[in-house]
Symmetry: C2
């Protein structure tokens, strides 16, 4: 190993957290018919964002605004908070990278749910951090008591929680999140990943204007707004945290048109309402579909649904059947979530194809109610 | 300071390396008439890239390919090297961030020229590294002997060099770069920033297929290809370095359309030839313009020209005059470069406006030859 590497990198042997659908297609030698494994917006891109793109495309020759000011100003209005509370980055991936780097020295502990969002683990390992994994409850919920206890016991620097959860889609009420915030040590930062919160009932979420000295709320334009490929997300936090993190931020990470598309999408209320309605209808359909198959789904507040196939072996068999029939999904592999398959809500025709494939799955057929 | 920050961040007090033109326009309360300070491609965006953008814009709803495979394959053909030698990131900013993070532990030394590209310094400081600055030679050239000696003396982990240089535009021949590579310690990585090499005579550059165990060559689509706002750059290095750095890479940093636009631009030979010809004509014009004003320019192998105004006071006065007349430029502030103003090559109408403003500058008028 070359002596110019950092101590962490010299000993690091990890792989990227995801194999993306494009790479999977290369490996299998053919495209998917249904791309239901990445929780993208399958109802398209905000038309306002597309119009902006067409209008401004020639400006791609110019550097983006590294302060992201216009987007931050618009977000500030939306959140009833000053722009100083907001940092923009290249998606929640970029935010996780940034905040983990800002907090994790070699040996520092980061607490997260076992089988939760793998990128967090990847970035913690990349900083030489030590991961403490708390198993999900048998119900499939995050164990908030367990997370808080682990944070205290290990004097953790970071706790990661997704709400709505990924991969289950479950939403914990604001009171539970508040209780978690109360319980974690004051010297520990909570990274609250709200990537899917746009699909949840706003009354169940933390208030928009609420702020804590040790909580970072992360949001994205990748889901509701149809801009996953553009790479834009943002975080809300105490302004002192934003000032600090700005010192290690990659200021030119978000492309010019991505910033402007995000800004346009933010006001595209027609598109947003449409995606919300179509997503809700799709979730209903998935719930009925699971029942028709003799199984259940977990309650979802996201743009995907976790189908519960009862045990890991069947979930694995169904996943393989879906793969063989050109349906891309994700299956958690850690207990107790390994009985689940996470399936993105697609448009009716994609759901119809999914239903057709599931109805013929050998691992399911026997269970289909007469 | 919150206890959850890393040791480095807890004590860090630095500012972003650049105030971008958009932010400067906000501060001055009016737009620039000539944006000649960021070395963007002022001849537009590759039409092939724009056609791609129009065709694929709906795919912005989908995540990008985190392996950047198609772009890396195309670059591999261009460079006569395997794709395993290439990593793609969000511009050279992203690459600097990545490689500095991979090499600099707290207290490690990084060597660079005083008054060189400030982002390198920013990222080194962000990792707790110690910067050793080597002054430019009085001629305005990088002091390669000084850089190599500093690297040896301080057991540096990194040396940064831009060739063609920024902010002078000067090109050092491949033999000089080879000699530098020979001289730096084997345990030190050379980050060779070739952002402007597309504008240089290829015969003067290191051979495309050449590789060393401790050299990273960085390239960008921001200059020749007109994609500064899209954020795409790439680095060529020994495959062992690429494998290592991949473990701390933000795999989703480059947007989907940016990857695809870069791929399209790479084959847009008509656009490339046109930009090269227009840039060369503009450099000639700037050389003549400086002579007409009674001054000189430094030889440039880039898309900008360093005007030499003889001393720092005059360079500063001229910069202020340009600013007052809505011309955005950059002036180095460290000796011996503080007598220079770095001006991007723009199209003829922008150059005509620049000439008009310079001809009336009080600090210049007295020197204009009869």
């Amino acid at each position: 190993m070359q002596p110019f590497y950092t101590r962490v990198l010299a000993e690091l042997d990890i792989r990227p957290p995801f194999v993306g659908p494009k790479e999977l297609e290369r490996r299998r030698g053919k495209p998917y018919k249904a791309r239901l494994g990445a929780n993208e917006c399958l109802f398209g891109v905000s038309p306002a964002a597309l119009a902006l793109l067409a209008e401004r495309c020639h400006e791609t020759a110019l550097y983006s605004d590294p302060t992201n000011k216009e987007l931050r100003d618009a977000l500030a209005s939306l959140w009833y908070r000053p722009p100083a509370d907001i940092v923009v980055a290249e998606g929640i991936e970029g935010l996780l990278h940034l905040f983990v780097r800002g907090c994790i020295d070699i040996g520092d502990v980061a607490v997260t749910s076992r089988g939760g969002y793998p990128s967090f683990d990847f970035y913690v390992q990349g900083c030489g951090g030590r991961l403490v994994h708390v198993p999900y409850l048998p119900s499939g919920e995050n164990d908030l008591t367990g997370l808080a206890e682990a944070a205290c016991r290990h004097e953790a620097k970071l706790v990661y929680l997704a709400n709505p959860d990924n991969p289950t889609g479950g939403l914990l009420p604001a009171s539970d999140i508040n209780a978690l915030i109360e319980r974690i040590p004051k010297g520990c930062l909570l990274l609250l990943d709200e990537a899917y919160a746009d699909f949840a009932d706003a009354d169940c979420l933390l208030p928009r204007e609420a702020s804590w000295p040790n909580v970072v709320r992360m949001r994205t334009f990748s889901k509701l707004y149809g801009l996953a490929g553009a790479r834009v997300g943002y975080a809300l936090a105490d302004p002192a945290i934003i000032v600090a993190i700005d010192r290690i931020r990659q200021h030119f990470a978000v492309s010019k048109l991505a910033q402007e598309m995000a800004l346009a999408a933010l006001s595209d209320h027609t598109f947003v309402a449409d995606v919300l309605a179509r997503t809700a209808a799709g979730r209903e359909h998935y719930c009925t579909l699971a029942e028709d198959l003799g199984f259940t789904t977990l309650p979802s507040a996201a743009n995907f649904v976790a189908f519960d196939f009862g045990d890991a072996a069947r979930a694995e068999a169904v996943t393989e059947w879906l793969e063989a029939n050109d349906v891309f999904v994700r299956r958690p592999t850690d207990a107790p979530l390994d009985r689940l398959i996470r399936i993105t809500v697609g448009p009716p025709e994609t759901r119809a194809y999914l239903a057709e494939v599931l109805l013929t799955a050998p691992a399911i057929k026997a269970r289909i109610p007469a």
